[in-house]
C-alpha cells in the first residue's frame, strides 16, 4: 500500500511542474503591458521602467521563471500588482469562500446523486428510472450561470415575501459579521506568524467558524446565502453522479456473485447494500474527484453571479486587470487542489479496491 501511495505521488510531481510552467508562460502571453493596466494608459516610459524594475518584469524570461519557481517552492506567490498585497494574504481571505462553496456543492451532489442513481437502478425501466434519468439529462445540460440567475429570480423575487425567500448575492447580510474563533476564545497570537495566518485562514470559513463558536445567527445567515450558489453549482456534478451510480450498479447487479448472494438467500437490501453497492461505488468515487474540476471551473461563473469574492471571481477580475501574480498564484493553487484531490481519490481507490494497488 505504501509503495502504491508513493508511486501515485511521484506521478503527480511532473504534472505539478507542468502546471507551474504552463501558468507562467500563459500569463506572459497576456497582451498589453501590466504597467499600463495598473498605472493607466498614459503612463510614461520612465514610470513603466521603474514599475517593471520593481516587479522584476525586466529580467529575461528564464531568470523570471527561475525566481518564480524558487519562490513558489518557499510558499511565496508574489505580491498582487493591483492591491499591493501578498497573493497568499488574498488567498487566505478568498479561498475559504470557494472551499465552502465547492464542499457544499459536492456534498449536495453526492447526497442527492448517489441515492437517486441507486433508486433508478433498483427500479430499472420503470417510470422512476425514466424520471430520474430525465432529471439527470436535463441537469447535465444546464448552464451554471443560467440556473444561478433563474434561482435568484425565483427565490429572491417571486418568493420574496414567503418563508422560502433566499438572498441572491453576497456571503452575509449587511450588518452580520462573523467573529473568528481565536478572538472569541481570546487566543494570543503573534502578528504575521505562519500559525496566525493559518488560524486566520481557518477562521475565514464562516460556516465552520460560526458552527464551532456557536454564533448561530451568523451560521444561519451564511447558510441561507450559500444555498442558491451551492444548488446552481451542484446540478451538473449531481446529474453526472446519478448517471454513473445507476449504470455502475446496473452493471454490478448482473454479476455472478450477486446471483450467488441471492441464491444463498440473502435479503434484497442486503444483496444491494453489502454486495452490489460496495462494488458499484468504486467508479463513482473517481467521478466525484473529477467533478471537483467542474466545480472549481463553475465557481468562476457562480461567484460572478452571486457576487461572492472567492478565488474564481478574483481570478477572472485579475485577468481583466492583468494582475500577473494573482493570475499565476490562483491558477496554480486551484490546479494544485484539483490534482491533490484526485491523488487522494486515486489512493483511496487503491485502498477500496486491492486489485488496483497490485497492478
Amino acid at each position: 500500500m505504501l509503495g502504491y501511495i508513493a508511486r501515485r505521488m511521484m506521478l503527480a510531481v511532473p504534472v505539478l511542474i507542468g502546471i507551474l510552467l504552463v501558468t507562467f508562460f500563459l500569463v506572459r502571453l497576456i497582451p498589453g503591458e501590466p504597467c499600463r493596466a495598473i498605472l493607466g494608459e498614459k503612463a510614461t516610459a520612465e514610470s513603466c521602467e521603474r514599475f517593471n524594475e520593481a516587479n522584476g518584469l525586466n529580467e529575461p524570461l528564464p531568470v523570471q521563471l527561475g525566481i518564480y519557481m524558487a519562490r513558489v517552492a518557499q510558499g511565496d506567490l508574489g505580491e498582487s500588482i493591483r492591491f499591493s498585497r501578498p497573493v497568499t494574504q488574498i488567498l487566505i481571505e478568498r479561498l475559504p469562500q470557494t472551499i465552502e462553496l465547492a464542499v457544499a456543492g459536492l456534498t449536495l451532489a453526492v447526497l442527492i446523486g448517489v441515492p437517486l442513481g441507486v433508486l433508478a437502478a433498483r427500479r430499472h425501466n420503470t417510470a422512476t428510472d425514466v424520471g430520474a434519468m430525465a432529471v439527470a439529462n436535463v441537469g447535465v445540460s444546464m448552464p451554471v450561470f443560467w440556473l444561478g440567475l433563474m434561482l435568484a429570480y425565483v427565490f429572491a423575487l417571486v418568493l420574496r415575501d414567503t418563508p422560502f425567500a433566499l438572498p441572491p448575492s453576497g456571503r452575509l447580510s449587511a450588518g452580520v459579521t462573523s467573529t473568528p474563533f481565536y478572538e472569541v476564545w481570546q487566543w494570543t497570537l503573534t502578528e504575521g506568524s505562519v500559525w496566525s495566518k493559518f488560524l486566520e485562514f481557518v477562521g475565514n470559513h464562516v460556516i465552520f467558524n460560526s458552527l464551532i463558536t456557536g454564533q448561530w445567527e451568523v451560521l444561519w445567515d451564511a447558510i441561507k446565502h450559500l444555498i442558491l450558489p451551492a444548488v446552481a453549482l451542484a446540478t451538473i456534478p449531481m446529474s453526472i453522479i446519478t448517471r454513473m451510480t445507476r449504470s455502475s450498479l446496473l452493471e454490478v447487479m448482473g454479476r455472478d456473485y450477486i446471483r450467488t448472494a441471492r441464491a444463498k438467500g440473502a435479503s434484497e437490501p442486503r444483496v444491494v447494500g453489502r454486495h452490489a453497492f460496495r462494488n458499484a461505488i468504486l467508479p463513482v468515487a473517481t467521478i466525484v474527484g473529477l467533478q471537483l474540476g467542474a466545480l472549481l471551473g463553475g465557481a468562476v461563473l457562480t461567484e460572478t453571479i452571486f457576487n461572492l469574492s472567492g478565488v474564481g471571481r478574483s481570478l477572472f477580475e485579475a485577468i481583466t486587470s492583468r494582475d500577473y501574480p494573482i493570475i499565476q498564484g490562483f491558477t496554480v493553487v486551484i490546479a494544485t487542489i484539483y490534482v491533490a484531490v484526485n491523488l487522494v481519490v486515486d489512493i483511496s481507490y487503491g485502498y477500496l479496491d486491492p486489485r488496483i494497488r497490485l497492478k
Partner: protein, 329 residues
C-alpha cells in the same frame, strides 16, 4: 431483441463477442461495409430503437434547421436597432398577437433586449454561432487528439511518454479555468475561444485514440499488413483509424455538448463572442443585471443553450449504446 432477427454473424456481434472480435469481423469485410453486416449499419438499427438517441437527434436536427434557415425564420435582422423604427422601447416583455397581445403593437415573441433589438431574431441567429463553434471546436480537437493519440500509441516509448505527460498537465487544470487563462492570453473573441476550448478537449480524444491503437495494433491483420511491408502511416490510416472511429464519434458527440456549454460560459464572462454578435452566452451576460426586471432576456438564451446541449447529450448516449457492442444488454 433486434439482433435475433438478424442472421449469422450479426447476432454474434450483438451478443457476447468482445469489441475487438467485432472489429475483427468488420475488418475482415472491409469491402463489404455497405452491406447490413457493418457495425455502423447494425448500430443504426439499434440507435433507432433507443428513445433517448432519437429524441436527441430530433432536437439536434431541429436546432440545425433553425441555424440553416435562420435568416428565413428570424423576422428581423439580429443586430438591427429598432428604436425610432417601431413603437417599442427597450426590454419589452414578449408580445405575441395570438396570445392576446394588442394587435396595434409590433409582434416580438421574445420581447426586445436592452438595445431595442428583436430578441427572437437574436436567439435564432445565436444557434448558428453555438452549432458552428461546437462542431468546429470538436473537429479540431478530434483531429489533433486522434493524431497525437495515434502516434503515441503506435510508436510508444519516449514519444508516448512526452505526449501523454503533456496531456496529463492539461487535464491537471479544471477545464474552464485553463480555457479562461488561454483566452486571456490570446485575447477575447470567438476564434480564440475555439482554440482554448479545443486545447482543453484534446486530451480525452488523445487518450481514447491511444487506448484503441494499443489494442488494435496487436491484432493479426495489422501484423499481416506490417509483414507485407506497409509503412506505419498507411497502417494507421487504413487499418487502425477506421476501427477506432466508433469511440471517437461517440465521445465527439458528447464533446459537442460540453463545448457548447463551455463556449457559452466564456461568452458569459465576456471572453467569447463579442457584441453585437448574437451569441447566447454573451446575450445572457449583457442582460444579467436586469434579471429581476426583464427575466425573459435571461430565460430564453439559457433555455436555448440547455436544449441544444441536451440534444447532443441524448444523441451521444444513444450512439454509445448503439455502437458499442460490449454495452449491448
Amino acid at each position: 431483441m433486434v439482433d435475433e432477427t438478424l442472421p449469422g454473424r450479426d447476432a454474434a456481434i450483438g451478443g457476447e463477442v468482445s469489441r475487438v472480435e467485432a472489429f475483427e469481423a468488420l475488418a475482415a469485410n472491409q469491402d463489404l461495409t455497405e452491406k447490413p453486416t457493418s457495425v455502423w449499419r447494425l448500430g443504426l438499427r439499434r440507435f433507432v430503437h433507443r428513445r433517448n438517441g432519437v429524441a436527441g437527434m430530433i432536437i439536434v436536427g431541429f436546432m440545425a434547421l433553425v441555424a440553416i434557415f435562420a435568416p428565413v425564420i428570424a423576422p428581423y435582422d439580429p443586430t438591427e436597432v429598432l428604436i425610432g423604427k417601431e413603437d417599442v422601447s427597450k426590454r419589452e416583455p414578449p408580445c405575441i398577437h395570438l396570445l392576446g397581445c394588442d394587435e396595434s403593437k409590433p409582434q416580438h415573441i421574445m420581447g426586445t433586449d436592452g438595445n431595442v433589438r428583436d430578441f427572437f431574431s437574436r436567439i435564432v441567429h445565436g444557434s448558428r454561432v453555438s452549432l458552428t463553434l461546437g462542431f468546429s471546436t470538436v473537429t479540431v480537437a478530434i483531429v489533433i487528439g486522434a493524431f497525437l493519440g495515434a502516434i503515441a500509441g503506435y510508436w510508444g516509448g519516449w514519444i508516448d511518454n512526452i505526449t501523454m505527460r503533456i496531456m496529463d498537465v492539461i487535464l491537471g487544470f479544471p477545464a474552464l479555468i485553463l480555457a479562461i487563462a488561454i483566452v486571456a492570453a490570446l485575447g477575447p473573441g470567438i476564434r480564440n475561444a475555439l482554440i482554448a476550448i479545443a486545447i482543453v478537449s484534446i486530451p480525452q480524444y488523445a487518450r481514447v485514440m491511444r487506448a484503441s491503437v494499443l489494442t488494435i495494433k496487436e491484432v493479426d491483420y495489422v501484423a499481416a499488413s506490417r509483414a507485407l511491408g506497409a509503412n506505419p502511416w498507411r497502417i494507421l490510416a487504413t487499418r487502425i483509424l477506421p476501427n477506432s472511429l466508433t469511440p471517437l464519434v461517440v465521445l465527439g458527440t458528447l464533446g459537442i455538448a460540453t463545448v457548447i456549454l463551455e463556449a457559452a460560459g466564456l461568452g458569459f464572462l465576456g471572453l467569447g463572442a463579442q457584441p453585437p454578435q448574437a451569441e447566447w452566452g454573451s446575450m445572457l451576460a449583457a442582460e444579467r443585471n436586469q434579471v429581476f426586471s426583464a427575466p425573459h432576456l435571461v430565460f430564453f438564451p439559457g433555455l436555448a443553450i440547455m436544449l441544444t446541449v441536451l440534444g447532443f447529450n441524448l444523441m451521444g448516449d444513444g450512439l454509445r449504446d448503439a455502437l458499442d457492442p460490449t454495452l449491448n444488454e
